[in-house]
Amino acid sequence: MSPSEIDVLEARRIYKSTGAIPAQMLRSNIYRAWERSHLQGANPQALQAEKLSILDTERLIEQKQTLIQVAAPYIRMLSQAAGTDRHAVMLGDSNAIILDVVGDKQTVQGPEPFPGPGSLLSEAVAGANGIGTPLAEADYMEIISAEHFIDGFHPFTCQGIPLRDDKQEIIGVLSISLRRADARQRLKEILLCASHGVEAELLIANLEKDVRRVLESNPNEYQPLEELRQDIVQANQAARLKLEVISRMVAGNRLDYAIQLLRQAEQSIQIFRRRAEIWRNLASFEIGTLQPVSLTANISDLVDLLSTEAAVHQVQVVTDWYEPITVVADPRSLLRQLLHYFLQAFDSAGKGGRVKVVVKLISHSELVQISFIVNSVFNISQSTPTFQVFYLPTTKIKDEQ
């Protein structure tokens, strides 16, 4: 038993006998969790969590069906990664009520009462735990055995992370509980990656809604946006497949390759998120206000977003500027305008052609010139390729000195 575990057991003994929480014997976030649990009246002697009625649980599960369905594949992959270790993977809502549990048979259906759907795991009810505490801290948390506030949870080491929507509001929590404390480290990174995977899936559901909205109100813009959406989803598909492979490798103790792949999976999710953000601006009909916008960054983002579209059209895209350039524009209108020119340029270039985007400041003026230069295979030897040129007012970032 390590000194810190002895400290936690001693801290429990002191708390139970005196009601005082010895701060120096606990990790700071566990101390905070115990204090919250104590102040809200949780009972440290409790052996199991309280539950909603069957009817209320059914109602809640019905309400949270989307979240449950979206998280289900990730819960399955986490459980797969835990392999034969005794474990339970849980999905909770934003009030720390369990919505779904998957794990080995002995843990989930065994004689010891493990919290199931409808169990209340807020710190106020169940004290510090792997569902309620990540929600209270709004961050990833690990609660090791006796650090749990109530006695009934001590056999487990639990980790949990809040799930957030696209507005960064917490909508739930993903958590894994393991009997073997040393198994937790190999699952931490997968848990974090899986939580980002769930958040990405929720974004996809929003992209679907955007597509339907665009189709209803502006059918002319629908097709290119729908195709871009498909390309964006591909990044998430790649992440999901990587997580599937990772979970199998971790279960089989092939940890080195799994760790490399985890980095890649996280990267794929980040790519998906960034592209989804750009896409949402493209699909938005809102008119923004004029403001400084990085023109060159916007063009780079679109080139990235359109990489599959360019490959499908077999068009090479080249950009050309000396320095990052900022213009004054409505960011959404600018993005849509650029997309429009790109798609026109792809059509004009045709199979095997090239599109070059040149951005340059016009000397002695406050304007930036943006040129879409198109070389199709038919005009590549001609001296005058096709042009699309437009101008935007520039802004110079003032030196802070």
């Binding site: 989803v233 790649a238 497949l241 599959t308 490959a311």
Partner: protein, 127 residues
């Protein structure tokens, strides 16, 4: 189409996304399939003819022939092969039914669901 020199069932993955193709190959090999890959529609068509797989997992958005075009060319050439259309197409049901493809799955898909669809398509190819 059924070529079984190795005794394993042979599957072709046609997808332009390298990561997805490589990961899916790994998973399907673990499931006992002999896996071939194609990075675009043209390669898919060539590989079907050359390798004669038992089943084709077909993405739609691909360079050098889309999945739809690949499928139509296979039909036109009278090549019978079990196909699972696996794409992020917004109206996948409509697309699949317009082509007469019975087995399809929307991206992002879950592996157990894909495996069930593959098995179902494979079994149907004998009936």
């Amino acid at each position: 189409m059924n070529s079984n020199n190795t005794g394993k069932r042979k599957i072709l993955i046609a997808d332009d996304d390298d990561d997805s193709r490589v990961m899916l190959s790994f998973l399907l090999e673990e499931e006992g399939w002999e896996v071939k890959e194609a990075r675009n529609g043209e390669e898919a068509l060539e590989t079907v003819i050359k390798e004669q797989p038992d089943l084709l997992i077909l993405d739609n958005r691909m360079p050098k022939l889309s999945g739809v075009e690949v499928y139509q060319r296979l039909q036109a050439q009278g090549i019978k092969i079990a196909v699972v259309l696996a794409t992020a197409h917004g109206y996948l049901d409509d697309l699949a039914s317009s082509l007469g493809i019975a087995h399809f799955i929307a991206k992002p898909y879950d592996i157990p669901e894909l495996l069930r669809t593959i098995e179902s398509a494979y079994k149907s190819s004998f009936s």
